[in-house]
Each structure stands twice: as C-alpha cells, then as structure tokens.
Amino acid sequence: MSTAEPDPPLGYGSMRRKEDTRFIRGQGSFIDDIKLGGMLHGAVLRSPYAHARIQSIDVSAAQAHPRVRAVITGETLATRDLAWMPTLAGDTQAVLATDKVRFQGQEVAFVVADDRYAARDALELIDVEYEPLPTVMDARQALDPDAPVVRDDLGASNHIFDWESGDAARTDEIFAAADVTIAEDLLYPRVHPAPLETCGAIADFDPISGKLTVWSTSQAPHPHRLLYSMVAGVPEHKIRVISPDIGGGFGNKVPLYPGYLCAIVGSMITGRPVKWIEDRSENLMSTSFARDYHMHGEIAATRDGKILAVRVRVLADHGAFNGAAQPTKFPAGFFGVFTGSYDLQAAHCQVTGVYTNKAPGGVAYSCSFRITEAVYLVERMVDMLAFELDADAAELRMQNLLRPDQFPYTCATGWVYDSGDYTSTLQLALDKADYTGLRQEQAAGRERGELMGIGISFFTEAVGAGPRKHMDIMGLGMADGVELRVNPGGTAVLRIAVQTQGQGHETTFAQIVAEELGIPPDRIEVVHGDTDQTPFGLGTYGSRSTPVSGAATAVAARRIRDKARVVAAAMLEVATGDLEWEKGRWYVRGDPDQGRSIAEIALAAHSDLELPAGVEGQLDASCVYNPPNLTYPCGAYVCVVDVDPGTGKVEVRRFVAVDDCGVRINPMIVEGQIHGGLADGIGMALMEVIAYDTQGNCLGGSFMDYLLPTAVECPSWELGETVTPSPHHPIGAKGVGESATVGSPPAVVNAVIDALRPFGVRHADMPLTPAQVWRATQGRPLRTDLAQS
C-alpha cells in the first residue's frame, strides 16, 4: 500500500525536506566524498602531553618515506609568518606548536603524503623531544599564585578577562534585605558537540591564477574567507570557500582549525590539492568544546516565593587558547540572560575567563552563545528555592514568570525580551504532562520507596545575532545578505549567506519565498555554502539563520513583490494603486479576473514590455538584513524520571516539550530540531562529559569514553506549541535550532534531583551518571570534571 504524498504547501506548513532526496539515497556530497585529480592527503601529529616544552623535532625519517610529499612543522610555518593565527575571540592560537604544547592533542606537525595510510604511517616516524611541564587542569586553581602559566607568550598569569553585567550594588542591597537567599556551586561541565561528521578540508591553491579554493566543514564560509585572507596573505577575491554538505555542526564548525591552514600550506608547498580529514579522537580532543562553566549562583526571594534577584560568579575555563566563537563584545557570550523568564528587581553576574591546559573553545554545542549555561543556572536556582521553601516547582514558576502585558520587557541586565505568553506556555506543558496526576503518583510511589522525579524548566533564549550596532565578530557586523531572482519562466533562485548543516535551509528558505510570492517551494533553488555564489553574511550558528537570513529573505521577496506590482500594472495598463495581491498574483481591485500571475509577470519583466521610467527590467532583489533586536523564543519542559534506588540508574520516562518560537515556517523541521535538542539534553544531563586527569590526559577522547545518547535512553517526545510572533521580525519567526538543547538539561537534572528528595539532595552536578546519583544520595556528590578515584 502506498500513501500519496500531499502537495507541498505554497508557503508555510509541514513538507518533506527537499535536501533529503539526496541524503536518503546516500548521494550527499560531504567533504570526504570530494576527490580532486592529483589530490594528496594530510595528517596531523598531535602532542601526547598537556603541557611540555618542545626541545626538538626530527622529521628526517618521515621526509624519507617514499610516499611522503611534505612535512610541515611550526618552524616551516614561522618562515611564512603562519605559526600562529588569530582566533574569533581576538586571541592567538598556535597553528603548529613552536615553543611548547599547551594541551593534549595540540597540533605539532603535518604530513602530506600520497594517501592517508602513508600520511598516518609517517606520523610515527617523526621524533619529537618534549620536556614535560607542570599542568593546570582545574580552572579553580588556574589563578593560584603558584599555578603554572599556560600562556607565557602573553604574560605571567592564566587570567584572560573579567566581565560583568547588571547592577551589583542594587543586587547586593536586595540580597542583604531578602527573607530567603540560597547559594550553590554549580558546574556545567565541559561537553563536546561531537558532530557525526568530523572536521576536514581540501585546499587547492593554483599558483598561476593565485586562486585558493578551500572546501571545508564550515558553518561560516564568508568569515572564514576573511580569516584565510588575513592569515595566508591571499587577497579575499582570490579565495573561494565552499562548504559542501555538512554532517552536523552544533557550533563545532564555526572556528578556524589548524588542520584547515595546514592543508592550505600543504597545497601551496606541493602545488597539489591536499585533503585533511580529522578522526573521531582528534575531533573530541582538539576541536571546540562547550561549557566548562564553574558557577556560584545565588537567588533571593521573599518568604512567600516572590523571586527578587539572582547573582552569579563564574569561572570560565577557556582552555589553552581563547578560541570561543561569539560576538566580540560579549566575552561571556549572552550569559547575561541568566535573568531567565522571571520578573526580577535586580541581577548581577561577574565572569572571569582563565587559561588551562585543555583544548580551546567554549562556545559550541547549540549553546546560543552561553544561554545554555545561563538557563541551567537560573532554572536550577529556582528549583533550589522551591526546595528550601518547600514550594511546588510549577507553582513557584507560575508565580514569578513574566506576564504577557510586560512585553517588550527589559530585563535586569538590559536585554529586551520581544514577546511571549509564558504562563500559557507553562500551563500547556503542565496540562499535557498531567502534572497534578504525576505529583499524586509520585507521592504514592514514595510510600513504597520508589524514586520518581518530575522536573520542570522554563527557558527564554535570545537568538538571532544580531543588531550590527551591538554585535560583530572580529569587526564584522552580524547582518546577512540574500539575493533573490525570479527567472523568466517563473522559477526562482535564492542565494543565502547562511550554511545548512542539517537544519533544512533548502526547504525552509524556499518556503519563506513561497509564502511571500506564491511560487511553489520545489520551483525555488536555494544556493548556499559557496562564497563565490552567495552574498556576504556571518553564517549559521546561535540559531540565527531564520531570525537574520530568514528575515532578509522575506524582505527581498517583498521587494520583488513590489516590483512585480509595477510590472503587472504596466501589463494590465492600470495604476499600481489599483492592484491587489493574493498569494502568487496581482489583480485589479474589484475585477479579480483581471490579474497576472507571478510567472507571467516574471516573463514580462524580461520581455519587451515597456516599463515606467526608472523601473529596470527583470525581477530580482537583494537585502542585507540588520536585525533591530534579537528574537526571544521560550519554552516549558516537563521531564519525568525513575531512579533505581539501589544502583542510581536514571531512566527518563517522559518528556513534554512546549516550545514557542513564534511563527513556524515548517513545523515538521521545527519538531525535528526539537527532538534532536531534547536528546542532547538527556546526553548532557546524564552521560556526556570531557574530564581530564591531573596529568592532563583527556578522558573523553573516543565514543567509548564520550557517551552520546541513543534512542534507548530517549522517551517518545511529547511536543506542544504556543505561537507568539516576534514583533521584531518581518514574518514573526524566532530562532529555534538550539532551544531544546538549551532548555532540556535543567529539566532532566531537576527531575533527578526531585526524585532524590527523600535523601535530602538539593544539588548534584551533571552528568548524573549512576555513580553520581548514588554518591549524591550518600551526601558526597562527585566533581564530575576530574578523574574519579
């Protein structure tokens, strides 16, 4: 039996993803699928030590290997002034180490060979003499006076920055006078986005034309082109960055990695294309991690549960180089939104960034620039307040959530929340979960010694960076361009600056055009991921594609609609003011039969039709969209867990997620993104962590050690929605790609801690492995980021 696929919507609505036609046939073209004539293969030699001085590097045996074409070291790069590169956070990072290595897995040498087997064999022929140095692996000891200095190239301390937000004095006053204050140390441990496709690049430098083409796993092709130009000295117009199909990014593929540059140098030296593909351990050990936030959170409230203020001090572990990828003026990302979804009188945070002998990064894994950490902090603190007041976690939130009439709402740290109906969103989630029934079941179970837990989180995100006035990366304002052209035959080509890594841009963006112009989505080609073929823009991360490039697309389509009106008026020999629009056609007001479809107008616009003076022919438009504000999606999540009292094993029984991301363009894609993010949340809450031992060995360097959740750990998700359009977005949409990753970890943790209520447990850090849960019941929770003993 076959079921006929319904026609795709002429605009918004669920439809199958256009790109899946190739993916489900195995016909995607990922970086490692691309093969060029004469292509060589590169491999990176990495440091076994977390901190060591390099005494000498002997590459002679590797160079003598019959299939090796080049061996590149930091010394080779230094002759080209390439040994160090700028990071997106304004720091510098070693491409290949020259003086010393600063984390385990750091890049030391690069071999270019005829094939990847020979390249890998040759790594074993390189002889590096190291002098091991004492390490600093615990951020909490990084600022001790006797701590080893990671960046002696910069100064005599591991201190990177201090940053604060909010009104310290006012917050302190409120805390001093409050009935109830609670303080707790919370660790959001280091985790890794672990995209299933690791990072890689193919560099092809043509010495005749001077043109450099780089295929790479890039979430941000245009900024990467500028960085390559700065680092490699090739002018921008001679660089083409192509980001082919990408097997997941999650922020891992925003930064520039040494391997990309080594491939470029390898191609320049050998005159042939060089491919470099990272292996799984390299990806986990050396590329952009996420979190590693050591937080001291405090919450102040009245005895009857009115939340007054939140205060937090953060020690941010940035690893050996400050490679966080975020808007430059925000060294702690958007952590300032730790004010959450509540009507606070004051809030203050103070963040100190430090260097340690760990891999660089910090902003990744769908974190919305650190809102993950912010939401976790505030949602745990609210639950702790409920614990101390013996209040119901849902009622306490209802009591304190912002009300619809308070929007737009300027929070205590200055962010302007655009819209929301928080109490309705939470109520819907509670109703879907049968919250009252669950609490009754829990009470009955406790009588029998069962440990059932119910956890709630309510999150507000700030996504869609961002207004150019406030937000830039390395001086590049965070506005995105699009170019839309309707062909004479009525089909269209949309060129966008954002790059899909699985989000479904080829479908969603076509639907935006379809909604505005009435051209069916399957007649609209979306071009992305190629700097020679797309307008400039900052790329896909931080849930910014729909808020920024989606807005640009709608605006460009509306410009085309306006132009089409002029053309239609000329065709019908009426004034433009006499025309009315219905989806896909302009017609004469009062005479609906007299009209011209967008396809007819497109043909006419390319024809000999005489147009009014000043109106150029053809039917195209562009837009550079500078968002007036971020968009603020929100959601209410309810998680139900069962904990085995004898083993500490947690089972997630149910997960209810009600998201409000404004207008949904393709609800099926939105739900798919939410499913993925919820699984992320279960992973982070229960199993994912990159810990290090005191010598600096990475204890999460493979998928045997770094656990990703599987379908077995995930319940059947129960989704719901409320729709509060953003007033600051042309189609009322808000970003959603990271909502569930941001919102779900605290729901899971709150549920587990709730289950442990009979043991008097108020907090334990993620991941809540069986060991951690059991230790929490013993009153001795673990430091989960260190080696266990």
Partner: protein, 297 residues
C-alpha cells in the same frame, strides 16, 4: 581518519589450516573473528599485528549443541545467535541475560563468543557468565586439544592461556539438574557501554531450599578470574533467602578490587557489586523455584 598500519591477511579454511597459519606467522599474527575489539584497536594503532588470520570461513565452529550432558557453544557463535538460542537460555538463562546487555545489535550480529573470551577485557560479560557457570574452554593446538576451566582461562587483563599457535574452539557448560537457576545483572552508563559492574549468579538449591552450590561471576570490578569464590563459599549450605543473598552481596563487594575510572569511583563500584550480586541471586533463586513449578521466568 583512523587507519591501521600495514597488515597481511590470510583466510583460514579449517581449524587445522588456522593452526598451520598461526604456526607459520608466529606470535605477531592475530586471529580475526568478529573483529569488534581488534579492528578498532588496530585503527587506533594500539594493536599492530603483522598478519590477520581470518577464521570466519571455518565451518563447524558456529554451532550450539547439547552432547554428553554439556551445552557446547562453538567459538564462532555470534552473540546474537547465543541470545536467540532457546536451548542455551533453557538451560542457562544467565547467558541470555548477559547477551541482552552486551553492546548493541550490530556488534552482537558479528562479535563472537570465542573472541569475547580471548580478548579477555576485564569488563567482558561472558567471562563472568561462563565463570559463574564453571564452563570449560576447549583449546586446540596442532598436537591435539586440551580442556581448561574458564576459571583458569584468564591470566590477567587481555591475557589468556591460549598460546600463539592455539585456537579456542568451544565452550562447554555442564548441564545442571532441576534445582538450578541462573541470572545476570548489569549496570552501565548507557546502552552499549561496558559495565560499571555486573554480576552473574548460578544457584543449585536442595529441595529444602538450601544452597548446595553457587557460582558468582563478576565483570569490571577486578574479581580474580571474574568470580567471587568468597561469596560462593559463604553461600554454600546457607538457606536461599533474601537476607542471605544480601549478605552474599556484601561478601562479593568486599572481596573484589574495582579500579576507579570515569564509569565510577571505587566505593560506588563496590556498592554496585553488592547490589547486583544480591539481585542476580534473587532472580536465580526465583528461577529455580519457577522451574520446580514448571514455569520459566
């Protein structure tokens, strides 16, 4: 991308051929069965054998049979095959319990019983299960075969009594009478992960409910030969009650030597060993009683 170093490949056509190849290529040759441990170790270059001797084409090593009062499991039997075997589960539910929680279906479809034992990973579930069952390993050399109790099979982590020119061909488990039952309990951080701790229990009860023989297998907690003889000694002659099983769990916990790792600290692993031993014993006892009553549990 992870790629192994250079390796030669030979395909064995029979046990004799495999032994001949093993003799010819010497100690730097490795037997390739399911390859689910060996190949990843080669890709990580933790293992760099000079020659792989592929035994997957050998017929006669993939059978599960009953003969001479023994359950006989060929070394090339796949995990999935043992999991699905009604004969094996009928006699020794501990095997099905253990197989249900070993790795994932993809690994179980190709990973072999013999390979699991020969890999001798300290966390290997089947080593604990067969240890609890007091199984016998049949090891073939060019001069004939020998029978080695599984409790003497392992010399240490990743080390067994199988010599370089020998091949493990079969596991044999003496079939016990009606008064026996068995079970396996395991906790891991996530499906497919190695055990944090796991315990297998094999009980033989007299008609009055006294433990006449017990086998306690432990994985991942540093128990010598994957068994807890202390807990077994404690149980013999005791009444099969929950209280006694709780005490036996305590004995097992005290006598194992877990090492801390990211799966958990020592105190938790010890606690878990006790808890799981107790649970496995309870379930094994329930199965003994159910069997006496003509049921399967």
């Amino acid at each position: 991308m992870q790629v192994p170093s250079h390796v030669e490949y030979e395909k064995a056509k029979s046990v004799e051929h495999a032994l001949e190849l093993l003799t010819r290529f010497g100690p730097e040759a490795r037997v390739l069965a399911g390859g689910h441990s060996l190949i990843p170790m080669m890709k990580l270059r933790l293992a760099q054998p000079e020659t792989l001797i592929d035994i997957n084409g050998i017929s006669g090593l993939s059978r599960i049979t009953v003969a001479d009062g023994e359950l006989r499991i060929g070394a090339l039997v796949r995990h999935g095959q043992l999991l699905a075997s009604a004969v094996a589960a009928g006699h020794f539910p501990v095997l099905r319990d253990a197989e249900q929680v070993i790795a994932d279906p993809i690994v179980r479809n190709w990973g072999t019983i013999g390979g699991s034992l020969c890999q001798a990973d300290p966390s290997e579930d089947l080593s604990a299960a067969f240890g609890a069952l007091r199984a016998i390993a049949v090891i073939q050399g060019r001069d004939g075969s020998r029978r080695v109790p599984v409790r003497e099979f392992h010399l240490g982590p990743y080390e067994t009594v199988v010599a370089p020119a020998e091949l493990l061909t079969e596991l044999r488990v003496p079939i016990a009478g009606d008064g026996s039952g068995s079970a396996y309990e395991k906790v891991s951080r996530r499906v497919g992960d190695w055990s944090i701790a796991a315990a297998g229990a094999v009980l033989t009860l007299s008609s009055d409910g006294t433990v006449t023989e017990a086998g306690i297998g432990l994985a991942a907690v540093g128990a010598g030969h994957f068994v807890s003889t202390a807990a077994e000694d404690f149980l013999r002659g005791q009444p099969a009650t929950d209280a006694v099983f709780g005490q036996a769990g305590q004995v097992a916990a005290e006598h194992c030597q877990p090492a801390a790792d990211q799966r958990g600290p020592v105190d938790y692993k010890r606690h878990l060993t006790g808890e799981l031993t107790t649970r496995a014993l309870r379930r094994a006892a329930i199965r003994v009683r159910a069997r006496a009553g003509g049921q399967t549990v």
